[in-house]
Amino acid sequence: MVWSASPSSSRNERSYWTHAQRHKCGFLLQALRQIAQRTVSTTSRRNFENKVSEKQKLFQEDNGVPVHLKGGASDALLYRLTMALTVGGTAYALYQLAVAAFPKKQN
């Protein structure tokens, strides 16, 4: 169940391509085999590869950006969304408070 990078599977891949070339299975078939092998095996490997050192490099860059924005453009987007909801919501809450505090007189 756990995806992990295993050296043995990459060895099998290389010998598989060589097998295809050796037996002249056709360029198209070989290309298809390569794509299938590449997407299946590396997708699962890409999902759970150790990317911590890359992240450490990104977040330790001495650029003066605070940690809540240091991840990139999506950080700024999410921050703006959160702030907009908070400020807008507060304004709406105060408006509802004003409406509730001054009920319209009914005759």
Binding site: V52, Q56, F59, V67, M83, G89, Y92, A100
Partner: protein, 261 residues
Amino acid sequence: MTHQTHAFHMVNPSPWPLTGAFSALLLTSGLVMWFHYNSATLLSLGLLANTLTMYQWWRDVIREGTYQGHHTPIVQKGLRYGMILFIVSEVFFFAGFFWAFYHSSLVPTHDLGGCWPPTGITPLNPLEVPLLNTSVLLASGVSITWAHHSLMEGKRNNMNQALLITILLGVYFTILQASEYFETSFSISDGIYGSTFFMATGFHGLHVIIGSTFLIICLLRQLNFHFTSKHHFGFEAAAWYWHFVDVVWLFLYVSIYWWGS
């Protein structure tokens, strides 16, 4: 470029305490609008703003610890104190509901029939699903300990499996308890029995969901190689919280389900 010459953590200015505080305003005023004016807009805004705040705040803590290295031993000590104190505050929170239960059940009033369970209340059989729930949570306590030891011993596959099992047991408990809620012949409005039963078990169920969420985050972090065999406080905090949730259930089971029937 000046760098710190001490081992403490001077955090960057952050907007999340502000958005968190205002989201609390939206949540509370939202509840008022929902209860009294039949409008769920404010409440929804509050829930969304609160969730976004929690996500970004804790995302930043992970960045500061795992990616920036700010969680030195002394900082980690502070985090440990913090988690322990938070759990102690939760213990007091549940103590209130247990106080209410015992106050009403030890000296049942005349209008209940002078007995507990009150006249007309058919409690759930403690030897059926509630007992299964007890075994599910106890088993999850074992599996999370297995996960911890596997983590400390560097056994990655074992850790992943044990943590997954713990989460699945937590989800199983939630599903079982939800189905039990539909099985009861009484509701929250059925006198003091209904009130104490659903307030105590209801808040417990919420804490199981919170604990399971915390564990799921830990699983995602574990799969992404955040934890080392020596440094994994996030996981330990989740494990402490999970054991607390388990202990609360044991008290609930013995007091409300078993003695209270």
